[in-house]
Amino acid sequence: MNKEEFITQLKKSISILDDSEQQYFVEEYTQHIDMKMSQGMSEEEAVKEMGPVEELSKEILESYHVKINALEDQKAKSVDYKKFFGKIKNQADKIYGKMAADCKKFASGIKKFLTALKDFCPKPLKRNHNENVTEEISGIPENTGASANAGVSSREGTAFAERKQGGFFREIGRMIKGFFRGIKELVKGCLRGMTWLAGRCFYIALWCLLIMWNAFCIGAGIIGIFFTAVFIFLVGLFLVMLTQGYPTAGFTLCALGASVSTGSLVVGCFILTRWKITKDEKPEGGEVNV
């Protein structure tokens, strides 16, 4: 280890101390090693004379009455917690983001549908009513009218009515268009929401399946352990009886075989437990062949 490595390692292991305290040790050790080297010692030797970094840092921290083990434990724990909660938070953020986007689309679909519906329903009635009124208005001067004024007004009236009528059809067309567009959006939103929900359900179902599978494996394993113990006991029993002169050689062999097979069943059960859902990976062999 050279001087640089020694100093960086030391600094890292006492990084809990104040900067000024760290600075002190860095300066003193650097100077000490430099002086050793100026007296003809090699860098490696000079560093070695200082003693191992772990011991030094322990001694330094001890001189500040730091409880070293507690410090390390705390560090390890906090790192673990951070990782764990970070993972959960990421997942939650992802799900929430997707959910929010889907909800938004769904809501906008419904909104469009509703506005289209509102445009479609009450307005034609209102328009018809208005139309009747205008017709009535235009009808009155026609009935009475020989005067020039009346003629003008009637012409204006019918033109107004025609324009209104054209507008009315155009309006209806627009409303129907809007209505269908709204329905389309609604269906799209529904589909999106449903596919997302189905995906989630599938994922959750997969997890449930996994947990059930593991429970089954562990349960079978535990029962298997019990049976193995019983069979091993029987092997012992029959062996003892065999030595006593009983004809139990066949039973001994049977019990031995049974204990071995149940034992391997236990091992198999524990090997078959799965704790992760892994996506299908691309086959690597295929690319090599091509």
Partner: protein
Amino acid sequence: MNAQFKKGVLELIVLESVKNKDMYGYELVEEVSKVIDVNEGTIYPLLRRLTNEQYFETYLVESSEGPPRKYYHLTAKGVLYSNALFKEWDAFQAKVNEFFRGVEHE
């Protein structure tokens, strides 16, 4: 030599060394190494602790070779502490030696 023995007496040796003459770290390490064999690095945590407890004060002196040297000087508080510690050590080692002599003669 037993590591526990060294640890206990190192503080006193450092204090007594600096009482005679102000010294900088490297010099002090050489001085201590004459008496007991310790990892050279272990003296500095001790120096820092004694400085933080105000038994030592430090000052810098320019040197012809390399950066300025940090000299350690025993304060009045340090002298009192060192004397008390020395008395303790003296009484302790006298008692222990007396005990060993008694054991030998039996």
